[in-house]
């Protein structure tokens, strides 16, 4: 059953007198307990698709088409109503964990302020939940972590904290925008495992935006390939990677190093 269903989504940005089409008739679904990977080169519109779901499209842009979230139409939803879904039902994790946290606010504050805002829980209760959720995302020493500041953590730990912040309100949809691109390869595996676990345990519908087919091959269930704002191919992971139908998908996969040779 699809949690989010995107149909004919169009996004254009006007800069000066110029109108640029970022998304053109994009359609695909996100399902609960499934990771949907969106692949594409930079400028293909994959990040903008995620931001459109969050209602965070850039200023001076127009969005048309439909994003259905469990019966609620997100395209054209008043910003106040969208704001009530953000953080609570729709959560997001960003590419660079070192810039996604405010350097002057403590971790505990930053991963609970939306919990307190949406659920009206007390500060003490929020902190208790924060510690529990940091444990769930395997951040070392959660009790101490809540009173620390972002610069005291490594990139991989911060990304785990970002996931904790995303799931603390028990959302239905998680958008992960290149969550491992800024991380070292040995750290990446741990984050991917965490993403898989969270998706399965919490029955999340995950949108994973990435340009890395290695990442998609590891965790995605279905894959959407985008090129200059268009969806060129959609399919299940294994067939799409081993036998791509579209020429563009094929050239992307063939351009990767060691596509045919793998380490022992």
């Amino acid at each position: 059953m699809s949690v989010i269903s995107i149909r004919d989504l169009n996004l254009s940005v006007t800069t000066g007198s110029e109108e640029k089409h970022i998304l053109r008739d994009v359609s695909f679904d996100l399902e609960a307990g499934k990771i949907t990977g969106v692949a594409g080169a930079s400028g293909s519109g994959k990040t903008q698709t995620g931001l459109a779901i969050m209602g965070l499209s850039p200023d001076r842009s127009t969005l048309s088409g439909s994003i259905d979230f469990a019966g609620t139409e997100l395209v054209g939803l008043p910003s106040k109503k969208h704001n009530r879904l953000r953080g609570r039902q729709l959560a997001m994790v960003f590419q660079d964990p070192s810039s996604a946290f405010h350097p002057m606010l403590s971790i505990g504050d930053q991963i609970t302020d939306h919990l307190r805002h949406h659920r009206k829980v007390s500060k003490k209760e929020a902190l208790r939940q924060a510690i529990r959720i940091l444990g769930q995302t395997k951040v070392p020493h959660p009790e101490e972590a809540v009173s620390k500041y972002p610069h005291q953590f490594s990139g991989g730990q911060l990304q785990r904290i970002a996931f904790a912040s995303a799931i603390i309100c028990e959302p239905k949809v998680l958008i992960a925008d290149e969550p491992t691109t800024a991380l070292d390869v040995t750290v990446q595996a741990g984050i991917l495992r965490l993403l898989r676990e969270l998706c399965d345990d919490l029955n999340l519908a995950v949108l994973l935006v990435t340009h890395d087919f290695g990442v998609l091959s590891s965790v995605a269930d279905t894959i959407v390939v985008m090129e200059s704002g268009l969806v060129v191919e959609t399919g299940d992971r294994e067939p799409l990677i081993t036998a791509p139908q579209h020429e563009y998908t094929r050239s992307l996969i063939e351009s990767l190093p060691g596509a045919e040779v793998s380490p022992r």
């Binding site: 965070l56 953080g87 810039s99 350097p103 302020d113 500041y149 490594s154 991989g156 750290v187």
Partner: protein, 356 residues
Amino acid sequence: MSVSATDQQKNLRPPKIHPLLRFILVRIGISILLIWGVTVVTFLMTNLVPTDPVAAILGDRAAADPEIVAQTRERLGLDQPLIVQYFTYLGNLLQGDLGVSNQTRVPVLESIGQVFPASIELGIGAILLSVIIGLLLGLLSALKQNTIVDHAIRTLSLIGISAPTFWIAAVGYFVFFFKLRLVGGAGRLDPWMTPPPRVTGLYTVDSLLAGQMATFTNALGHLILPSCVLALFTIGLLTRFSRSSVLDIIKLDYVTAAKAKGLAPRTVVFKYIFRGALVPIITVVGLAFGSLLSGAVLTETVFAWNGLGQYAYRGATTLDLPVIMGVGLVIGIVYIIVNFVVDLIYGFVDPRVRVR
């Protein structure tokens, strides 16, 4: 970026002292060095004067007598080498001796002590006005970027930093006092009022302490126009700076992340955006304080505000060097201390400096 903790431990030789302590010590060192530099500048300035200070002190008739001139030179230590004179000067400064006014024969430090509170009162009023109004306008302008509001604020702030302070003071005085009688006139109180008993030297505070409400409202009425005039330039400056500073923050990832959490727009603006923009703004407030002091010299003159600025103006018009150098020295030191405090605030506000 993501060096694992163990790697860092292995190759890191930790600093011997806590970074915050080190930060404070470095700031203190720089401030002391600067204050020393200020004394060198004022000393050199006094000694570079083409006009003979002896002549200025003695007046024309006495200066014609070479014996009296020689005696005076010796008495003033002017026959000593420059470096000895400097150390004498520095020694005097450390004892609080800033010299004696050529005109009034009153010690400079004593006069400065008398007029200083007046300037402080004006300065605090102006800095409060400029910080509050400047930051809010800058924030508003940035949040409404490229709208009518933004254009209006930007244009007005540009005009604000373009107006000559002393002229605005004169125009304001003419309009609001002379024509409209909305505010008090020249001076810190109406001529028939007696100043409140001196505690802090600030009339508004002292009158409240003494419970003299009439004096308080009168002092406030006199304070309001000069502070507004004085604040105009710094408001323009801070508006412009906080606008660009907020615009820098708005496009950062952590702001998008805060929005993606569905927080109330108010929370995003004040907790995330404003807090991030505040650090650079704090340092600029220190710098803006300098232009405020410049403006004070000109504003006080127009409003006959008996403060440091007017004292300096009288010194300047009569070429009373000890007075001018004394004021220069005191203002230079005040400015350095203010910026030292600003740096400290910065160090404590930012956890990247505070927490290791």
